[in-house]
């Protein structure tokens, strides 16, 4: 992907140090008509878009093309992102609680520090995804592909990794207490991980 989100326009409001969201002249905090902005998103090319801290909670973004988008700190709780293309997207510190990411493509995506508790990642592609410090309590990764992903220091308590590929995944210092690993495949790095009550 040819990313251009490194040159976002600054927010038009004088004195604001944030960047304008893609498709508007202001940052999310200073955007006046947020509903109109959100409704217009459906017709836009969102690859590499700058959508930092936007509130898209409870929306239907299934199948959205968001590869390379910058969604840091966004509220995507309960959002339907099933089948979405999120390759290389930045979702760091985003709120993805109870979001639906089944069949989503998250290869090389950054979910570091995000809260994905109770989210669904069934059949999702998380190959080489950044899950450092991710809060993933009770998240469902059934049949997901986490090859060479980086869940270091992550909270996977009671997460479901049934039949998931965890080959080369680096769970260093992760908390997997009560997680379900039955049928998972591969040799992950579990250095200093908490494996209390793991179901194999």
């Amino acid at each position: 992907m040819t990313s251009r989100h490194y040159s976002p326009a600054p927010c038009a409001l004088e004195g604001c140090a944030r960047n304008a969201v893609t498709g508007a002249q202001r940052c999310w905090q200073h955007l006046e008509n947020r509903d109109a902005f959100i409704n217009a998103l459906a017709s836009q090319d969102l690859e590499n878009a700058w959508l930092v801290e936007v509130d898209l909670s409870d929306r239907d973004l299934s199948g959205a093309k968001l590869a390379g988008a910058r969604l840091s700190g966004a509220d995507l709780s309960r959002t339907d992102l099933s089948g979405a293309d999120l390759r290389g997207a930045f979702l760091d510190e985003a709120d993805l609680r109870a979001a639906n990411l089944s069949d989503a493509n998250l290869e090389f995506a950054v979910l570091g520090g995000a809260d994905v508790s109770d989210a669904c990642f069934k059949d999702a592609n998380l190959r080489r995804a950044n899950l450092v410090g991710t809060r993933a309590r009770r998240a469902d990764f059934t049949e997901a592909d986490l090859y060479y992903s980086r869940p270091g220091n992550a909270d996977f308590q009671e997460a479901i990794l049934a039949n998931a590929s965890i080959e080369r995944a680096i769970f260093r210092k992760a908390n997997l207490a009560g997680a379900t690993l039955s049928g998972s495949r591969g040799s992950p790095n579990l250095e200093n991980a908490n494996l209390d009550g793991v179901k194999r």
Partner: protein
């Protein structure tokens, strides 16, 4: 700024092209192998490869250097005068690098190798094998490990939290995520 990531089939190494949208001058960060996708991207975008920045002298970061230099008249920058069997201009911490209208800064990040260097450009930093998503580079001694951690804290974690980190292997990250959650620092 034009940006493109390449996953190279040599030890899962990353290579990156960064280019100035105005002058079309391009920087290549590490080159484990010069594959067709890399050359095709430069050609398709009308970019002129002027600079190759080598983060450290390991084969999975330099293996395609000779082929790249056979195709392009580019200057090689590295933390020592010779990398991958090719001459390089030795750069040091604080040196400025210009790619068209883009200004980069060299950051010293030794430990994984003595000559390890990173490069910061607007909004991004390329860390080679010094700092990965959730990890750091392997070292030969505890002294090297301490040196690496110290330099990362001083030169990388001092950048703003939203700066994107692009390592030599594995996924990208941000300064904020690594500073707060990387198991080697938190």
């Amino acid at each position: 700024m034009i940006f493109r990531h390449f996953l190279i089939d040599v030890n899962e190494s990353n290579a990156y092209v960064v280019a100035c949208e105005t002058t079309r001058q391009a920087l290549l960060v590490d080159v484990a192998a010069f594959d067709a996708a890399l050359g095709g991207f430069l050609e398709d975008q009308g970019l002129t490869l002027t600079t190759i920045f080598i983060t450290h002298d390991h084969y999975d970061h330099t293996g395609g250097l000779q082929e790249a230099l056979a195709r392009y008249d580019a200057e090689v920058l590295a933390g020592k005068g010779s990398v991958g069997g090719c001459q390089a201009r030795k750069v040091a911490h604080g040196d400025s690098v210009r790619i068209g209208e883009l200004a980069g800064t060299v950051l010293a990040t030794p430990g994984h190798t003595p000559e390890g260097v990173s490069m910061a450009l607007p909004g991004v930093v390329f860390t080679g094998d010094a700092l990965f998503s959730g990890s750091v580079g392997g070292t030969f001694s505890s002294q090297d490990a301490r040196q690496q951690v110290d330099h990362i804290r001083k030169h990388i974690f001092s950048l703003p939290d939203d700066v994107e980190i692009y390592p030599g292997h594995g996924p990208p990250s941000t300064v904020g995520v690594e500073r707060r959650y990387n198991p080697f620092f938190s």
